[in-house]
Symmetry: C2
Subunit: 193 residues, 2 copies
DNA sequence: ACCTGAACACCGTTCAAGT
DNA sequence: ACCTGAACACCGTTCAAGT
C-alpha cells in the first residue's frame, strides 16, 4: 500500500533557498533541508539525485525570480530605453540585497552547475531588448553584456565588502548607472555636479 | 629534543593554491593539503588555526599576485591613463584565465572571509590612479569603481559561462573596454565599425 | 617543539527492511 | 511507492602520546 507523500520537490527547493540565505551554502545540508520539510535525509534522494542537483535547482529558482523582477522593473519604467536600463540596474541591486547568498551563487557559481538555459535567456531578455533599442541592432548584444557585467560586478563587490576605500556607495552606483547608460548609448555622460 | 620542521606555512599555502585550481574549493581539504606537503592533517593545525583560515590565506596570496600583475601591466603601458586602464583590464582577464578558481574566490568570496586590507589597497591603487588621472580628482574613486566593477563582472560572467547567447567574447570585451574608458573619461566612445 | 594515531562529531549517500 | 534506521566513506578538528 503506497504511503502518502510527506513532502514535495517544490517544498524541498524552498527549504533549500531559505537555508541558503539563513546559513550560507555550507548550511544547506541534506540533513537541515530534511528536518525543515519534516523528513529524514535519505528520503530527499527520492526527489533529487544528490546535493549538487538540489543546489542547482535552488540556483535555477533564484535566477527565475531575478528574471521576473527584471520584467516587472521594465514594465514600470516606461518606453525610454535609458530608463529601462536604470530600472534594471536598480532591480538587480535590490534583488541582491534581498537574497545576497543566492545572488552570488547565480553570478559566481562555485562549481560547474549548468544553469537552465531557458531561465538564463529569460533573465537576460529585458537587458538585451533595452540595450538594443539604445545601441542599435548591431551592438545590442555587446552593449547588454557591458551593462550587465558592470551591474553584476558592482553589486558583487558591494556584497563582498570590497568598497572599503570610503565614499558613498549609493552615489558610486548612480555614477556607474549614468556612465554605463551613456557609454551604451555612445554619447558622453551628462555633466556631473 | 625538538624535531626539525617538516613543512612551513608558505609551503602549506602554496599547496592550498595548487589544490584550489586543480580540484576546486571542495578539493581543498586539510587531508589533501597535508598529503601534498608530506605530513598528516593534524600537523597543519600547528600553522593555521583551521580550514577557513587557510582558505583566507590562499585568497590573500592570490589577491597579492593580482596586485603585482596590475603593477606590471601599468608599468608597461606608458603614461596615457586610457592605455593604463586598457592594460589593467587585460591583465585582470589574463589573471582570471590563469587562476579561475582563485579569481572567483577573491571577487565573490563564498563566506565572509576578511581580505587583508593592505592587499586590497595594493591591488586597487593602480586603477584608482589611472581613473583619477582620467576622470579628475573628484570622480576618481567613482570612476575606478565603475571600471573595476565592469571588468570583474565581465570576467566573472565569462568564467561561469554566462555568455551563451553567441557572439565573439573577445570582441565583447574590447567593446566594453572602450565603452568604459570613454565613460570614465566623460566623452563619447570612439566611433565603432 | 613538532608530529602522529586514535577518536569524535558531522555530512553525503546507499540500501535493505518497514508500511 | 515512499519512508526510515543502519551503515559506510570521508572530512574537520582535538588531544594524549611519541620523538
Amino acid at each position: 500500500m503506497p504511503t502518502p507523500d510527506r513532502t514535495s520537490l517544490a517544498e524541498i527547493v524552498d527549504a533549500g533557498r531559505d537555508l541558503l540565505e539563513l546559513a550560507g551554502l555550507d548550511g544547506l545540508t541534506m540533513q537541515a533541508v530534511a528536518t525543515r520539510v519534516g523528513v529524514r535525509a535519505p528520503s530527499l534522494y527520492k526527489r533529487v539525485s544528490n546535493r549538487d542537483a538540489l543546489v542547482a535547482l535552488v540556483v535555477d529558482a533564484t535566477l527565475r525570480d531575478l528574471g521576473g523582477a527584471a520584467d516587472v522593473a521594465v514594465a514600470d519604467a516606461g518606453g525610454d530605453p535609458r530608463d529601462r536600463l536604470r530600472a534594471l540596474a536598480h532591480a538587480l541591486r535590490a534583488f541582491a540585497h534581498h537574497r545576497p547568498v543566492g545572488f552570488r551563487l547565480v553570478f559566481a557559481p562555485t562549481s560547474d552547475l549548468h544553469l537552465d538555459p531557458d531561465a538564463l535567456r529569460a533573465s537576460s531578455v529585458a537587458v538585451v531588448s533595452a540595450a538594443t533599442d539604445l545601441a542599435g541592432e548591431e551592438h545590442g548584444l555587446d552593449a547588454a553584456r557591458t551593462f550587465t557585467a558592470w551591474a553584476n560586478g558592482f553589486v558583487s563587490m558591494e556584497l563582498s565588502g570590497a568598497f572599503r576605500l570610503g565614499g558613498d556607495v549609493d552615489r558610486a552606483f548612480d555614477f556607474g548607472v549614468e556612465a554605463l547608460v551613456a557609454a551604451v548609448a555612445g554619447v558622453a555622460p551628462a555633466p556631473r555636479t
